[in-house]
Point group: C2
Chain length 215, copies 2
Amino acid sequence: MLKIGAVPRTRKKPKDAYHHGDLRSGIGEVASAIVNQQGSAELTVRAVAQRLGVSHAAIYHHFEDRADLLAAVAERGFDQLAAVMERATAENENALLGFREQGLSYIRFAVQHPNLFGLMFRSEAGLRSEHPNLAGAADRLLERIRRAVVACQTEGILMPGTPDEHTLFCWSGVHGLASLIVEQQLGQLTVPSDLESRAQIVVDRIFTGLGARAG
Amino acid sequence: MLKIGAVPRTRKKPKDAYHHGDLRSGIGEVASAIVNQQGSAELTVRAVAQRLGVSHAAIYHHFEDRADLLAAVAERGFDQLAAVMERATAENENALLGFREQGLSYIRFAVQHPNLFGLMFRSEAGLRSEHPNLAGAADRLLERIRRAVVACQTEGILMPGTPDEHTLFCWSGVHGLASLIVEQQLGQLTVPSDLESRAQIVVDRIFTGLGARAG
DNA sequence: ACCTGAACACCGTTCAAGT
DNA sequence: ACCTGAACACCGTTCAAGT
């Protein structure tokens, strides 16, 4: 049913465009897009295949199973988040300010990518242990927080405590706020409803909890 | 194939044991048990029916759909958690101590019922708005935290701030720690690995963040 | 090496039919 | 009023077969 003059080479999904190894990355991109746009429940082997114009069995030549797909998306998410946080600290000379911006970045990321954030922090039946790359990406994120704490300890004044104790506390506060916002649990709260206000309320009190003195 | 002498009345799942209105509550109990034992992904209309010795179509005479089942389990979870927290504050004269125990109860509950806790705080595609009872149970939980904050403000000394601002901060910290533990994100942390130590590290710093002075 | 079609077991949901 | 059997559309996963 092609119209005369149609040019098969330029159609969007040529039947054999993925015979040279780029199908794997195509799957990853589509999978991430589906998670962000529709949520991880809608990330289906068959949906990914359909968007790429490929049989659903083809997916299994590049990914073990659906869980492997989810792990790949989550891993990309951790890398993205780590990059955002990296930038936040890099842009601030003052360690305390950098640390503050890092926390705010974390919360903003969660709000901007709620479905992805939800997937990243759902253990999802031992996805972590089966996918070392995912575990590694998550570890790097934690390491970034820990380094920011240590930077504050060497430069500023924090109350007594090991870096890991402070890290546990900060991460809990920031992650908790991000989770509660993303999961829409704060409807009954009369506190200002905009993200930045809420984030600053929590982050500033975390600073007080750390015994931080403004630099 | 009944043995002679077998008494059909005493078999565990009589075919018509649920014809008098107790099937609904049976479904609720089984659904909660499956979530707690196997996780909400395993909560299946068909699995519930099978455990009750009933056809899977029968479930739909008592619950709208699978989401309705999940909402019922989550609602029970919120009521359980609220009861545990209620007891924690009731057992303490001192408002600050009661508030502290309330936070610890929240974290302990999450650790004891990880699958249930995960379900409760997953928005799960607008489950909340479709199930007012669930939303109500969640609201009562938040109200309990808020009241404990107010009790501390009237009795003890907290730093300046509206009750809702303090509530937002406390809840974020406690919920974040609970979530990170339940989702097993703290593996790389060298902080003491037992629950009580971790909970106290976070809760004590929250108190500092509130500017609380020990009663 | 990479992809496809067909098949299988498993879901949620609906509905006519039974008591 | 309550329950069942059968049917449908949708999954994930596997595998022989094609290029």
